[in-house]
């Protein structure tokens, strides 16, 4: 049984790491990618009244950050339940 619970914990941790990596790729892309490294080419495009690169740097990246955290929290709650490591509901 001991063996089982450790490999289970390992699997849970691996799943968490994959999720984190995925989220951090998005995090990097919208801020450092679109907002800084690619800002000049993206500025060729207009979205609403903004240049696209400028929009990402001053608005879009921040909205994405908020979405990412809630997405991560939501997926982690599911993972917690799936692997049976969620906290009890009483407190």
């Amino acid at each position: 049984m001991k063996e089982d619970s450790t490999s289970f914990a390992k699997e849970y941790w691996q799943a968490n790491l994959r999720l984190i990596m995925g989220c951090l790729v998005v995090w990097f892309t919208v801020s450092f990618g679109f907002g800084i490294l690619l800002v000049e080419p993206l500025n060729q495009f207009q979205i609403g009244g903004y240049k696209l690169g400028f929009w990402f740097a001053q608005q879009g990246a921040i909205y994405t950050f908020v979405g990412l955290i809630f997405f991560y929290a939501h997926r982690m709650n599911k993972l917690d339940k799936k692997y049976g490591v969620a906290e009890e509901d009483d407190s």
Binding site: A9, G48, I69, G84, S91
Partner: protein, 604 residues
């Protein structure tokens, strides 16, 4: 009611609210004093974190910085929000699971070393005091400008208020006061922004107004801003990398993001929620509340700059006579944040690119006491030669301090008095909430990490609580002293706080959770290398306690990275050293590895 009375009433009412909350939420145990008994609802904690995080700098200075930097202002916007993503995924849930009281305590336990804990305490105290001095200055600015009391009187009032709720209420008092302060500051920030956005573009949402057409039919706001600035000889607002190179913007953004995630007063907020999953969600809520201000700020920046140009240069774009300029001009002149020298002698104020005042004083005006010139303007002793900058229609005649943009914005736009009074209450709320959070982590690290764990391990809980209160009171005294006698280097050391948090605390906390192999030698040497490298680089160029050893220009910088962004390199060094040293020395004991296993899962 006149503006003065109105401001007193609004600020006074907010103080009564804070004190009322303090009395209601007095702390009775060390757990309540340090982490509010871990009973804070995640949304309330989100608001408290937002208020804790958004300082006088966010409230007063940031939109002004953006207004003058244009695109490059993005590094503050992304840098000061992106850190929450790191916090939510990499740090907060695990620190909550660890379940103790302070950040140095985690470092000390995880690296089974009192030395590591003390190094962490030193970093924490340095970071926090640097920061708190800035907050006290912010309180002083707001008081002296809006309530027209001497800066020191304002400071004493501010210290008194913080004393009441931080010393009595501890984390519990601070948390609920911060929730109230968040409401005050966000209301104060957005109301004028909505008014001004509506005035200029017809769209009441500042976030959308930024991308809207001007209501006078002159095209898109941002395009108009670009044209107006280029016509005055400035660089375009939206074009990237006019003021800073790409690598520097990249490095500064990194240092600010990582630094945010490593700031002890922010981290400790996530110790206060009931569960691990609340810590994740709470970081999301914190960022929602922060994003309200941070997505409004770029609009405030553009609108403020536009209003400034329009008001000063007038509808014809040739300048406005000093005798006809609105009253705010003189008020801000009196506070020293605005100065005018009539270079072309036409009695009109003109604003364009170039320095109106000589570069000996970094382009800032040196006022000749309180003496007045022929138009009633304050006399200034260091005018520049008044040359017309390349591409500008006339010589620039004014100096506008960035710190006045947000505060003066409602006046420049001619908004009603109650909006201006609100701004004062908001600025004070932003400064006090951050100061209180910082003072608490300082006092907790002294009473808990130094006293309880190092010098007097047998101390009772009651005495520890008393020690915590005394430490908080002493810290307030020191902070007040720093606010009253701001060391000349305060402005320069802000880079320090973020650089140190990024290069010392963040990497060891992260590695402590995500690697079981990093041992105490790795962590201690990593922290020390990060700390020493980053401080040395900043001192080398900025000369904090000594004369700078090299001119602070891009040619001298390592890889073209300014001292503000060097924390990013310090962080990489810290990681590298921690890895190499750890793999050359024995692995951590079994029980430490088990502890790491246990903080990775929420249950248990």
């Amino acid at each position: 009611m006149d503006l003065q009375t109105l401001t007193y009433s609004v600020v006074g009412a907010s103080f009564v609210l804070y004190i009322g909350i303090a009395i209601w939420s007095k702390a009775n145990s060390t757990s309540e004093f340090y982490v509010a008994g871990k009973h804070v609802h995640p949304i309330a904690n989100g608001m408290a974190t937002a208020a804790d995080w958004m300082s006088a700098a966010s409230f007063i200075s940031m939109a002004g910085l953006i207004a003058f930097l244009g695109y490059e202002g993005s590094m503050y916007l992304m840098g000061w929000t992106g850190g929450y993503v790191l916090l939510a995924m990499l740090l907060a849930p695990y620190l909550r699971k660890f379940g103790k009281f302070t950040v140095p305590e985690f470092i000390g336990d995880r690296y089974y070393s009192q030395t590591a804990r003390i190094v962490a305490v030193i970093c924490l105290i340095f970071i926090s005091f640097t920061y708190v001095a800035g907050q006290m200055r912010g309180v002083g600015i707001v008081f002296s400008r809006f309530l027209e009391v001497p800066v020191n009187v304002g400071l004493f009032i501010g210290m008194g208020i913080v004393f009441i709720y931080a010393v009595l209420g501890g984390m519990r008092g601070i948390t609920y006061t911060q929730v109230a302060q968040f409401c005050v500051l966000i209301f104060a920030y957005t109301v004028p922004a909505v008014f001004i956005a509506f005035q200029l573009t017809g769209n009441p949402f500042p976030q959308l107004a930024l991308g809207s057409e001007m209501s006078d039919g002159s095209g898109l706001l941002l395009d108009k801003m670009d044209t107006v600035l280029v016509d005055l000889g400035f660089t375009s607002y939206t074009e990237p990398f006019n003021d800073k190179s790409m690598i520097d913007v990249f490095a500064i953004t990194t240092a600010l993001m990582v630094g945010t995630a490593g700031l002890p007063h922010v981290l400790v907020r996530f110790f206060t929620v009931p569960k691990v999953r609340d810590a994740r969600r709470s970081a999301g809520w914190a960022l929602v509340f922060i994003a309200i201000l941070y997505t409004t700020a770029p609009a405030v920046g553009v609108l403020a700059r536009m209003n400034l140009v329009n008001t000063v240069n007038g509808p014809e774009g040739v300048g406005t006579a000093y005798s006809e300029i609105p009253g705010w001009f003189q008020t801000w002149e009196n506070s020293g944040l605005l100065g005018w020298f009539d270079h072309n002698g036409d009695g009109k104020i003109q604003y364009a690119a170039g320095n109106a005042f000589s570069s000996d004083n970094k382009g800032k005006p040196l006022f000749v006491g309180d003496e007045r010139g022929q138009f009633g303007e304050r006399l200034i002793s260091n005018p520049s030669k008044g040359e017309i900058a390349t591409g500008a229609p006339f010589a620039n005649e004014i100096y506008v301090d960035r710190d006045m943009m947000v505060l003066a914005n409602p006046e420049i736009a001619g908004l009603p008095n109650w909006v201006i009074a609100l701004i004062a209450a908001g600025g004070v709320a932003a400064a006090l909430s951050t100061a209180a959070g910082l003072l608490l982590v300082i006092s907790a690290s002294i009473s808990h990490d130094l006293l309880k764990s190092t010098f007097a391990p047998n101390i009772s809980e009651k005495s520890e609580l008393m020690a915590g209160r005394i430490a908080a009171a002493v810290a307030i005294g020191i902070a007040g002293y720093l606010g009253m006698h701001p060391p000349a280097f305060v402005a320069q050391v802000v880079a320090f706080a973020f650089g140190l948090a990024a290069s010392s605390l963040f990497p060891v906390i992260l590695l402590g959770i995500f690697s079981k192999r990093i041992n105490k030698w790795g962590a201690i040497s990593g922290m020390c290398v990060g700390l020493v490298f980053t401080s040395a680089y900043i001192i080398y160029f900025k000369g904090v306690f000594i004369e700078p050893m090299a001119v602070n220009t891009a040619d001298n910088w390592l890889f073209g990275i300014s001292p503000e962004g060097i924390g990013a390199i310090g962080m990489l060094l810290n990681f590298a050293v921690a890895f190499v040293v750890s793999y050359l020395t024995p692995e951590p004991p079994k029980e430490i590895q088990d502890m790491v296993e246990s903080i990775r899962v929420p249950q248990g």
